[in-house]
Symmetry: C2
Subunit: 414 residues, 2 copies
């Protein structure tokens, strides 16, 4: 029998767009002893988690719960529940994760129409509305914050436009939830999917989401009670367009999360403990205060990077607070820099995808990773490593610039 080493992950400073570091209080929660899935203590924790998710998503929706899977499981749950074969879905794409929405919608059988915007920018409301009026979709699916490019798509006006036209608007807020305002009700978003391992700083593995009665009505039309737990006398409606997934079937999942407690799956106990604790910490900090903390650390990071002579990537008008993209200077081997940061300093920053691969670094300031010491350590380490790769910033200037932001910030934003 091969002997495996004791698990002992090295401490890391994780400055990527996720997964990021986890508050020690969340880690502690993960380690608590198990409760049975229908133990009243556990179902109370489930109910509290739903309450907290409503606060997080800024919604009065009845349904707000996690799907047990990573972020894209929540996206697929919403899309597979809503999309009937041939359904017309519009996906405005301005980065990698827009493609993912289109991909999932296609696999669900939709007739997908896309509009694309050059990476580094986002859509104007007019562009999206024009596409809606031209293409006549019944569903619009869009990313709120694109981690691949670090851009933020404003949604309030698009939400109102979709509601006026009686379309459903599905929003991927995986990167923004808990770090930037996501106003589900005010912006008239019909379904919103969040992520855990980014601004919430809970490990990956759950996908919190919320949806309103408009979405629920569609789900219930396509509902099918599964064999083996059908009540006596139940007969299938013969409806051909029943929901094609069992695991990601929101019509069943909402019965599991309701007092019916449908025995659909065994809720992921430890992860639920962790999510509840992560939500508790976010709400205790205060969402506005949390957003302000993310803005302050972003400003310090940007000041430090610019003081190093580096150029930020993308249109600054639509920059997302929690991801900062930096052009890799000409002649510098971006991957060599990343590797050395990880190997020698224990600091992780990210590369990017597709057309941006090798062209930019992406630095996250998310959740528990989003703190002054992390920003300063990252700047100092980057400044120390770059000269070895042929780029020579003026020593010390970067950290000084960041510190100046924190000094100011203490007066205004914190």
């Amino acid at each position: 029998m091969k002997k495996y080493a004791d698990l002992s992950p090295s401490p890391r400073i994780i400055m990527t767009p996720g997964p990021v570091e986890v508050d020690p209080r969340v880690s502690r929660a993960l380690s608590y002893p198990m409760l049975g899935q229908f133990d009243p203590e556990f179902t109370s924790l489930m109910n509290e988690t739903m309450e907290m998710l409503r606060d997080l998503f800024r919604t009065a929706n009845r349904w707000a719960f996690p799907v047990d899977g990573t972020s894209r499981s929540g996206i697929e749950a919403v899309l597979t529940g809503l999309i009937e074969p041939g359904e017309r879905v519009l996906v405005p794409i301005y980065g990698r994760f827009g493609y993912l929405l289109a991909e999932i919608a296609e696999r669900c059988g939709a007739e997908v129409v896309t509009i694309e915007k050059e990476w580094g920018s986002v859509f104007s409301t007019e562009e999206v509305i024009a596409a809606i009026d031209r293409e006549k979709p019944s569903i619009v699916a869009i990313v709120h914050g694109e981690t691949s490019t670090g851009r933020l798509q404003p949604l309030a006006e698009i939400g109102h436009a979709c509601r006026e036209r009686d379309l459903l608007l599905v929003v991927d807020a995986v990167a923004t939830i808990g770090g930037l305002p996501v106003e589900t009700d005010e912006w008239k978003l019909d379904a919103v999917i969040g992520g855990t391992q980014k601004c919430l700083s809970v490990p990956s593995g759950m996908s919190p989401l919320t949806y309103n009665e408009r979405v629920e009505a569609r789900l219930l039309k396509r509902k099918r009670i599964e064999r083996g737990i059908r009540p006596e006398g139940y007969s299938d409606s013969g409806e051909v367009s029943f929901i094609r997934s069992n695991y990601l079937d929101l019509a069943q999942l909402q019965d599991y999360w309701s007092p019916l407690r449908l025995n659909h799956h065994t809720e992921a106990t430890a992860m639920l403990y962790g999510l509840r604790e992560g939500l508790r910490l976010a709400l205790e900090e205060g969402l506005e205060e949390r957003f302000a903390r993310h803005r302050l650390n972003e400003r310090a990071l940007m000041a430090g990077l610019e003081a190093m002579g580096l150029n930020l990537y993308g249109d600054p008008a639509c920059k997302m607070t929690v991801v900062t993209c930096v052009a890799i200077p000409n002649g510098v081997d971006g991957e060599a820099v990343r590797s050395q940061l990880l190997a020698d300093f224990g600091i992780e920053i990210a590369s990017s995808f597709g057309p941006l691969k090798g062209r930019i670094w992406r630095i996250g300031t998310m959740g528990y990773s989003c703190r002054k010491s992390n920003v300063l350590l990252t700047l100092a380490a980057l400044e120390a490593v770059l000269p070895l790769r042929g780029y020579h910033p003026v020593a010390g200037r970067s950290v000084q610039a960041a510190l100046a932001v924190y000094r100011e910030g203490a007066g205004q934003d914190e």
Copy 2:
């Protein structure tokens, strides 16, 4: 802002067929600090987990990894990957989870044929083979251990029969993996799905599975590279029967678990730590020794229950070691007994489903919950509670009978 209480789950003795108690070393692993998903330290842990899963499943298959979701996510991943619309799938059903296999297969678009056996028994090999030869399916999907009835379906001969006929055999070993022998290669099982929260004693939320080259060949025929990460020059084959799920797409998942490290999702970091530790502990104990421990505790539990004058449910010839089903005595309110065990003793036992609801209790002896003190405490508490509900066992006899088994067992099985 509502103030939420500190998380503080009560200690429980969990004697259900899952989720069960977790070894403190697994709990500790869950609480370790995060690593990035492509951090070489983390990908090493992923590789080690694959190695350990091969040992657990007793297979030389290349592919053995967890899907990030609860057990049925793994089942759906296998079935949605294999089943093309109209595919003929045979599901022999002898309890609730057989219905679930049929349900999932139908949702994947299969033409499902079922054969049913009275609950409490299992199929003879001849019955299954006759159905195969009559119905000519291309896939057979069957449950190895039915927690709803506590029965174990022998699979070796069915496996050989399927292989001779060139069918694919998909096995739900959620309840048995880690507690009873699951001989993937020797029995010629093409795909096997395990669970974490039962005999492995890792929290719910991951579904470890394995499949061979026969399954892989089918997956690759239906593979589709997702939009946004397609290499230049890629064009979709136009194949209409591509895999309908993105999240549960094994063709992509295996690229994530291979040196290609396809960026499909963000692996559930903490859960992976926990799974690796749970596997390490199971292999360190030794699979044979672990199975023997489960048998010994089962014998002690059965002896104790019978000494209380209670009747065991189901055909003893096919009883599954890790779940013991007990007929609720006439006139006893089974739910009242369960509630009192939980409220006063912190002990959880289970009820059952469908036709068995209110007729039997199910007592699990799985993984970390499967130990002498738990068995004795459960027997003593049950003996103490039953007289309050109108059933009067002879005091002390039950625990004495169980202790006698442990005294003997120390000589033979442990």
